[in-house]
Amino acid sequence: MALRYVLMAATVVLFVVAGAIFVGRFWTIYQVMKKSRSTIRTDQIGKRLISTIEQVFAHKRMLKVRYSGVLHLFIFSGFVVLLIDVVGSIGQIFSPGFSIGPILGMIVDIWVGLVLIGVAMAVYQRAVIKPERYHGSDETDGYIILSMITCIVIGIVVHESFYPYAAGPIFGIKSVALSPMEFLAYGLSRIWLSLGWTGPTAASIGYVVGYTMDILMIWVFLAYLPYSKHLHVFLAVPNIFVRKMSPHGELVVPPVPEEGIAIRSFRDLSWKDVLDLYTCTECGRCQAVCPAHAAGQPLSPKMVILELREALKKELSGEPPIPLAGGVVTQEELWACTTCGACMEACPVFIEHVPKIVGMRAALLEDGEIDKTAQKVLVGWDRQGNSFGQPLKKRPGWTKGLEVPIKDARKEPVDWLWFVGDFASYDPRIQDLTRIVARLLQRADVDFGILYEGESNSGNDALRIGEFGLFEALAQKNLEKLQEAEYNMIFTTDPHSLNALKNEYGKYGFHRPVKHYTEAFLDLIDQGKFQLKPLGIRATYHDPCYLGRWNRIFDAPRELMKRVGVDLVEMPRHGENSFCCGAGGGRIWMEEVGIKERPADQRIREALTLEGVTHFVVACPKDVAMFSAAVASTGNEGRLKVVDMAELLAEAAGLGVPDTLVVAR
């Protein structure tokens, strides 16, 4: 009987100690969050709840990596079951005779089995499969946690199996029989019987050992967790709930506009950013999908989070703060990011890597540190409104090759306002395509116009380089013209402009309908504006990051390809899992330092694994440039042809397509 009081005392004392450590840790984290920037994450409650349920209970993102997802589901669901066991076991100690009953008992035993399978799979993954994404993660911590979990679930069965024999000596109740439904505990208890370990001493020892492994270990676990990466056990659910919602493509809203977006210290992070740091489980899924990492550059989104967390821990322990941008996270890491968002799409706990990286870029930029080619582009945007260092006057220069002039939307009302973008306007390789788009619109009798010299770069990439002030200046210039013009809809061939117009200009009160040309042309086809002849080619399609991932436009381009008779074969990475061409976030203008294999080259190799695919279809002017170069540099000009969606449509519609662009017949 005395033993019971010892167990009771140990349970209470350890719980209080562990609880205090636990609360203390959370208090520290809360204090950091309180001092950081504000952000509103409690809007759209309904959507948030649904998304949280999907992600937590259905493991939607977790299961994208099947093996890990399944093993995690086993262990995760085991935690729910653990709660039943905690109630049962502690109840037993404090109120002799208490039982959760055979059915719940059976459920506990089933999950003990599942958790053990999950743990075995996890150990196999860490020790044998060794995915690259774990590189840089704290593997020891992983093994410690797995050991603790194993210890706990084995403890559950052990003390339960000794219960029938220990009930008398410890709890003073007459012998209790285990139900065979609690099959694991029941089976073990039969073994103890055959071994003769059923006497008061043996049974008591067995019970105490089991109870210690179970409940007392849970308290140790509770105290250890907040200091390990497994804090996600508690933070994942809230972090998913306060995830970034629509507009998805909006990078970041500066809480105080005058302060800008620069992140220099932890106070410049938003509280969600701080929460992100502690929620990271170091699973490395972000690292596995990062184009910069794949290219051999020094960036891993995971390491950015871990470096920040480590620095925050040091700072909290009283060490002098180190500047985040260029100190904690190196300049090379920060400038390597293409802002493609694959990391954020892959993260099972919805960590937001890109806004942090861009915020730190902004800090570098304020100190005058930036790639010199990119600096020229920034200056060009500021002075001439384009990235080509060309006169503003030449922006509409591409229209000269057209038979029918284009309306000036600054002077007369139009139905569709075409926002052309820098590349489509200035790049000589792409101007042919731009003219095709114009001819297609003319063929379909669309009443459309452009802003001529009134258009400036949208600022989407300036913002992602970290130049928030320049983005604002460019946005204001465009908005002034857009407000003066009369039109019903804006359309653009450029996903980067699309993103700015759709998601970034909203903060200045701009909310007009914006369509990508694939969507707009699909509408025209549906209205019977084109006579289409099937092309009969086998092609694959590359989802541009700013069309797909950031704006969720996946179907329109695919539907359009179907209408023009293209047999679409998907690459392994497509849709939301598309792999960046390497041009985004200003990378297209920066030096390629430390690149082993360009993302665009890797992408072309991916396309070449598809049988019988002769065409690589793109829907972004930058992609035309990036992938044409990649096909050439990998020596695959004979095997794969890069074509733009507009070329396909023009060809199918029987419009003359210049020889330089013509789709192979």
Partner: protein
């Protein structure tokens, strides 16, 4: 150490030069003006010196119109003060007159080191740093790189033909025409420039000067093309034959 950096704005060559072909006059108001690239290098070199030894950097421009943005940009990059010389100046003001105003300012306001871009694209009547030094009878060096402060001396480099370099030293006060800074000029973010416009001021100093000897510009004109290139068209074989014939005619190949 007090450093003065001279800066001027020049026509942006990205846009076409506005020239009235009839009168032969440049239409200054129709052109966009940007900071002279060499002056950006002079400022960068000064800011590097400031980072190294803690010099006080003042940036100066002659008020030829819209120079405020250029001065605030310099402040955003890290200059400590900005000065605008006001008076009877405009975009067409000659370098000689500008140099006189700067020299007058320097007589009243002592500086140890004056850095300027070695030249600008519109140096019609000579380079400003040399003229300023001449008017003040200060030592001067042109086409300078790698300036450093060594005790009470200024050390710097000059590069000559044939790959020869010299390391030179001079006592202050001194005027240097900077060819290139050690590092590419730093970037000033739009937000920071805007912030400077709110938080700092440009000192205006009256610099009306007496008449100075000047050149008279009779007219500007674009170079007249002396000849035209001949485009050889046709099938590759024909083109090749034609090229061979031309080369033979001009005795550029044997046989």
């Amino acid at each position: 150490m007090r450093i003065l950096v001279l800066s001027k704005s020049v026509p942006d060559l990205v846009e076409e030069l506005a020239l009235d072909e009839d009168s032969g006059e440049l239409l200054h108001d129709d052109m966009t003006y940007v900071p002279s690239e060499w002056d950006d290098h002079a400022l960068e070199e000064a800011l590097l010196l400031k980072d190294e030894v803690g010099a006080e950097v003042t940036v100066l421009a002659v008020d030829t119109g819209d120079v405020d943005n250029m001065l605030f940009t310099a402040l955003a990059k890290g200059a400590d003060h900005a000065v605008k010389l006001t008076g009877d100046f405009d975009l067409a003001t000659s370098n000689r007159k500008r140099a006189q105003a700067i020299a007058n300012y320097l007589r009243d306001n002592p500086f140890d080191l004056v850095l300027s871009g070695v030249q600008a694209i519109d140096d019609i009547d000579g380079q400003i740093p040399a003229m300023v030094a001449g008017l003040l009878e200060w030592p001067h060096a042109s086409v300078v790189t790698e300036v450093s402060i060594q005790g009470d001396q200024i050390h710097f480099r000059q590069e000559y033909g044939g790959g020869l370099q010299a390391e030179l030293a001079a006592q202050t006060p001194l005027v240097l025409g900077i060819q290139a800074a050690r590092k590419p000029p730093r970037y000033a973010s739009v937000a920071k420039v805007r912030q400077m416009m709110k938080s700092s001021t440009v000192d205006e100093v009256d610099a009306s000067a007496d008449a100075v000897p000047e050149l008279e510009i009779r007219r500007f004109f674009k170079p007249v093309a002396a000849g035209h290139a001949e485009m050889i068209e046709g099938e590759p074989d024909e083109v090749a034959d034609r090229i061979i014939t031309i080369l033979k005619e001009r005795k550029l190949v044997r046989g």
